[in-house]
Amino acid sequence: MRLKGKVAIITGGAHGMGEAEARLFAKEGAAVVIADVLQKEGEAVAADISAGQGRATFMTTDVTSELAWDKLIATTIATYGKLDILVNNAGISGSSVGDELALAGWERLMAVNATSVFLGTTRAAAVMAKSGGGSIVNISSIMGFIGGADSHPGYSASKGAVRILTKTAAVRFGPSGVRVNSVHPGFLPPMLNNTNADGRASKVAVTPLRRLGEVMDVAYGVLYLASDEASFVTGTELVIDGGYIAQ
């Protein structure tokens, strides 16, 4: 088992990519705290993992709240004794905030997708530094690298913020043994919820490997970065996109 004895927090773990990561981490031996605003879904995932001999608990968490982060980290340490891994997976799409040019939408995207990562990374790193180190994995996007015609400017900006915040944190916390890396998924079905069949087909057509991603494609990359196999990897961008931004 590749995460034996490790304790991990996964935000946005109630469904989609975060759920896949939570299940994979538990299977690889980690105790997992699933943090999400979706209480019913998150509790169901935690219960399912526990029924299958894994260790998982759920905590209702608004990742934009500093108080919520303090409580999440304190409860994790009270429950499992330490914190080794944080996956900042919680995020919202550009289409979820409506008008692309309204200030409110921009602020909402920055709060949920970027400010949350700042809060989680800095608070978790402080705790990890005291225990000798840890691994933080921040989910950015290919939209953190490129401008997409269909991408909400606030979504792209928030993902670009995650990309470079990650490097800053890697340099700052590296001497304490805390690794911080970003993952950049391409087009996955969970991100295309509001896209019709023609829209999905057009995303497949522009992806060199000629398929959309699956949540496990991302989860395995996150597992690599979380595990000790990546103990010399920090400040790195892991692009998992079927080749989209290589062209």
Partner: protein, 266 residues
């Protein structure tokens, strides 16, 4: 697939397998169930690594290999298919630093000749082994991987393929070539399910870097710019190659995996 074995049933060619990153990658691939064709110019060292892998219960064969020879690439790919039935993975690890043996690394911070003193012969040698070797290997592997229904090609570039330094400019150029060649190959052969990615090690302790890292001034300066505060090990790089070789990364192509302790993030 057996639990914990991530390359069961796969066949891999690993170049530069006699020492350093190549030897460790070949070992880890074999531990994870791959059948390995280990190649290197150094016959005695290469055969001894194969001997160790087989003694530990793995499957491996050795082929002497000058990666600059297109004919030799053809015969090694053919021998791999004849021995192991297919080709799934090619790990292009063979490379040279281009260090000028007349320069004393023990007293100098740069391992190579400066640009104005670099001869065309020195430049060509580094480019031929580090860059042309990767082109020839990728070219030779593609038909075999098409026959296998897909594959994964892993090209070892370097942080020197991303940033500049006082080190040998030819080394930088060759590693930059590997970086962007990998993306071009990834796009061209993605429809055949052949993935091509580059790995960018930072300062790793290997026989190639030993002359530099045994100089305390060089070692100190390199550690100062590495946020994690240590040199990498061949196992650090081999673990990244394992991720890219396995089906866990089946949607990863044209990517750059930087394994450098945070050096280029700074």
């Amino acid at each position: 697939m057996q639990p914990g074995k991530r390359l069961t049933g796969k066949v891999a060619i690993v170049t530069g397998g006699a020492s350093g990153i190549g030897a460790e990658t070949a070992r880890i691939f074999a531990v994870h169930g791959a059948m390995v064709m280990l190649t290197d110019a150094n016959v005695a060292l290469g055969e001894s690594v194969v001997h160790d892998i087989v003694a530990a219960g793995g499957t491996a064969q050795f082929s002497q290999h000058d990666v600059r020879s297109e004919e030799r690439w053809s015969s090694i790919v053919a021998a791999t298919e004849a021995s192991f039935g297919r080709l799934d993975i090619l790990c292009n690890i063979a490379g040279i630093s281009g260090r000028d043996p007349t320069l004393n690394i023990q007293t100098s911070l740069t391992a190579g000749p400066r640009l104005a003193e670099q001869t065309l012969e020195q430049w060509n040698l580094v480019m031929e082994i580090n860059a042309t070797g990767v082109f020839l290997g990728t070219k030779a592997a593609i038909p075999a991987m098409q026959r296998a229904g897909g594959g994964s090609i892993i090209n070892i570039s370097s942080i020197c393929g991303i940033v500049g330094s006082h080190a040998n400019a030819a080394y930088h150029a060759s590693k930059g070539a590997v970086r962007i060649f990998s993306k071009a190959a990834a796009i061209q052969y993605a429809p055949d399910k052949i993935r091509v990615n580059s790995v960018h090690p930072g300062f790793v302790d290997t026989p190639m870097t030993k002359p530099g890292h045994s100089n305390p001034d060089v070692a100190r300066k390199r550690l100062e710019v590495t946020p994690l505060g240590r040199f990498g090990t061949p196992a650090d790089i081999a673990a990244g190659c394992l991720y890219l070789a396995s089906d866990e990364s089946s949607w990863v192509t044209g990517s750059e995996l930087v394994i450098d302790g945070g050096m280029t993030a700074n």
